[in-house]
């Protein structure tokens, strides 16, 4: 074999050093390609090829450290790094007839902490997103009140404000799986769920301002969208913790979330938190609107249906590992998940690795707030054995998240909404995770 020039020998060393960093299949291809090229004549070109992708790793000085970046306000409103382009809302086309009256899901597998970024909050529209001009938007409060009011946004925002951190969840979250598994990823099994800081005026403040008349028991909230989305809310809730919200995560609401103003009922079915709120009417009876009769009622096996099932009951799911986040190596793993309850704080979360035969109590992490997403974690040492992973949340009322069999026993399989059962991921010995149900 012809002796290589000194330059070529150095180059080979470089190629070999870089190849050491690669996974082995890529490494072999890389070594082969590198060698083929370096022995050939196009030496100059080879340097570029060999260095591509690795030139920023130590001991080299990274590319971005050797030049200047962009200046202030080159992007006046910041957005995520281009390397995060996979972190997006997704939908399942066959769920609905049309994207204008449909739903999308939050990428829960990519979420950190408890706050969902505004741009990733799941969407649910009944007639698309209306483009509301806040200058021309009004809120009318009428019905059984002493002083029927009309408010501009500026006037609304002049009332004393309150901020809360609460989850928002569609009662249909998980509802595709009453009869069996249908969804292959966490984003689709549990992604109709988000958690934000919400800022607005307590509805009780506005109700004081208008003066509720004797005998009033219910309130109708109505949106300015093409669906005139409307729900009846008991006055008891309205006077407790309901907010009229105009901001989310520190800025005005996103159009998808009801800009410029929405109702927010902490812990309750997301659809009761009417978006693009235009009117509140006080009355003595519920209105039985389409979205509280035809929809959002829960059909039982005997043919009767539960109505006004407002509360989102305690739920939880393991987010790592999950189908989108398989186990990448054997050894110590920090298993992580989220739990939430519409009735208050999460008190405890237990984890089972064997499909519910035995349970261990996980650690609650970070903020534990009422009616908010709460993180839990537990260390496990995985040596490649198949596992059936489950989490079981308990809230401060003592309610224990039920099994799917228990829910089916009580409600059958046709109630669509409020499926908050213990979820099972099957971890295969190859590290992949799939959605299963246990019989």
């Amino acid at each position: 074999m012809k002796r290589l020039s000194e330059n070529t020998t150095d180059l080979l060393k470089e190629i070999k050093a870089e190849a050491a960093e690669l996974p082995q299949k890529k490494r072999r291809d890389f070594l082969l390609n590198g060698l083929k090229l370096s022995v050939g004549s196009a030496l100059a070109a080879t340097v570029g090829t060999a260095m591509a992708g690795k030139e920023s790793l130590p001991p080299n000085v990274p590319v971005w450290s050797r030049k200047l970046g962009r200046g202030v306000v080159s992007v006046p409103y910041g957005h995520p790094s281009k390397h995060e382009s996979d972190v997006v809302r997704r939908t399942v086309d066959w769920l609905t007839a049309d994207s204008i009256s449909s739903i999308s899901m939050t990428p829960l597998h990519e979420m950190k902490g408890i706050i969902t970024p505004s741009g990733l909050v799941f969407e649910r529209y009944h007639a698309g997103v209306p483009e509301v001009n806040p200058d021309d938007h009004r809120i009318i409060i009428n019905g059984m009140v002493d002083r029927p009011l009309i408010l501009t946004m500026d006037q609304l925002m002049s009332f004393p404000s309150e901020s809360v951190i609460n989850f928002l969840e569609c009662p249909a979250n998980g509802g595709m799986e009453w009869r069996g598994t249908q969804m292959e990823a966490l984003q689709f099994t549990h992604g109709m769920l988000s958690c934000c800081e919400w800022t607005g005026v307590k509805l009780s403040t506005l109700l004081d301002e208008v003066g509720i008349q004797k005998g009033a028991k219910w309130l109708l909230a109505e949106g300015a969208d093409g669906a005139g989305m409307s729900r009846s809310i008991p006055l008891e809730k309205a006077l407790d913790d309901t907010l009229v919200v105009y901001a989310q995560n520190g800025e005005m609401l996103r159009p998808e979330q009801g800009y410029p103003v929405r109702l927010f009922n902490p812990g309750w079915e997301g659809n009761t938190s009417i978006k693009w709120l235009r009117r509140l009417e006080i009355g003595d009876k519920p209105w039985y609107q389409r979205e509280e009769t035809s929809k959002y009622t829960d059909l039982m096996p005997d043919g009767t249906a539960r109505k006004f099932s407002f509360v989102q009951e305690t739920n939880s799911v393991i987010t790592s590992p999950c189908p989108e986040k398989p186990m990448m190596h054997r050894g110590i793993h920090h298993l992580e998940g989220i739990a939430w309850s519409g009735r208050g704080k999460i008190k405890r979360v237990d984890v089972s690795l064997d499909g519910g035969v035995s349970w261990q109590t996980a650690k609650l992490k970070g903020l534990v707030l009422s009616k908010a997403i709460t993180r839990f974690g537990m260390e496990i040492n995985w040596q490649g054995e198949p596992l059936l992973l489950q989490s079981r949340a308990i809230d401060e009322t003592g309610y224990v998240q039920p099994t799917l069999s228990q829910l089916r026993e009580a409600r059958g399989s046709n109630s669509i909404y409020h499926k908050n059962s213990i979820h099972t991921w099957m971890l295969d010995k190859d590290g992949t995770v799939s959605n299963v149900q246990l019989g």
Binding site: I100, Q182, S230, K285, K307, P326, W359, N414, L438
Partner: protein, 313 residues
Amino acid sequence: MYNWVKKYFHVLVLIFAAQGFIASSAFAKEPGYYGLGRIATEEEIAGWDIDIRPDGQGLPVGSGSVSQGEGIFDAKCAVCHGDFGEGEGRWPALAGGIGTLTEDRPEKTVGSYWPYASTLWDYIHRAMPFTAPQSLTDNETYALTAYVLYLNEIIDDEDFVLSRDNFAEIEMPNKDGFFIDNRPDVINIACMENCKDPSKIKVTSAIKGITPLKHLEQTAAETENKVDSTKRGMGVYEQSCAMCHDSGLAGAPIVGDNKLWVDRIAQGMELLVEHATNGFTGDAGMMPAKGGNPSLSEEDLVAAVEYMVSQSR
């Protein structure tokens, strides 16, 4: 307590006075306390107050017949809801399904499920047709409501004219089919040990290929590579390396004994692979080239070394 309050009443008054605004904000305000906004006019409210209740509250003056409704339905509704309200594609069916609510596949329609006819009037008027909400007149809404009730055989007279005056006479078949939320309806116990018989756990596997998963493919491929490599490494190790490295024969560092490996691992994979490939004689003993198996491929050898290192960290 009460005596104490009496005795120090003047002090309490001072405290409240000093706290002024804070103290007053703790109690419900009189209507108009903030004085924000203005009283809405009757005209303003009338334009937006479109809700209809089961008792007829909110229904405007007006009327429409079944046959008028049929004409409007064919022109504006049938494209989604079907000629007879059977529903096109995934658009909602409006008719049929009576008696199916207890069946395995219940059909929930206006006739089989909806408890009140007022909901129909209200929803048609506020949200239909889908592409042109709030475009129907009150009379058109009466006519369409009549026609949908006719499709459901709740009205059987083609000449029937529905109006505010006779609206209350409409009775829906499922009006008594609903009950108020009575949850929690399911009680689970937080059992910790021996909660079920492991031999009786049956796994229902997922239906594949019906959710969009492009974003998962890359991760899955990476996992596969990684896991393949671990599996392959273990296989090669058992075949070609375990004889010495399980026992320490010929001074071989025993796999799993971190003390024997920590310095070796520190030298880096490159050197370990080179020694394994070409053989190596050191103070501790002798490693034959490729463990004495010349047919071992480079890929297999690297997998085996990676496996041994992973087990010995």
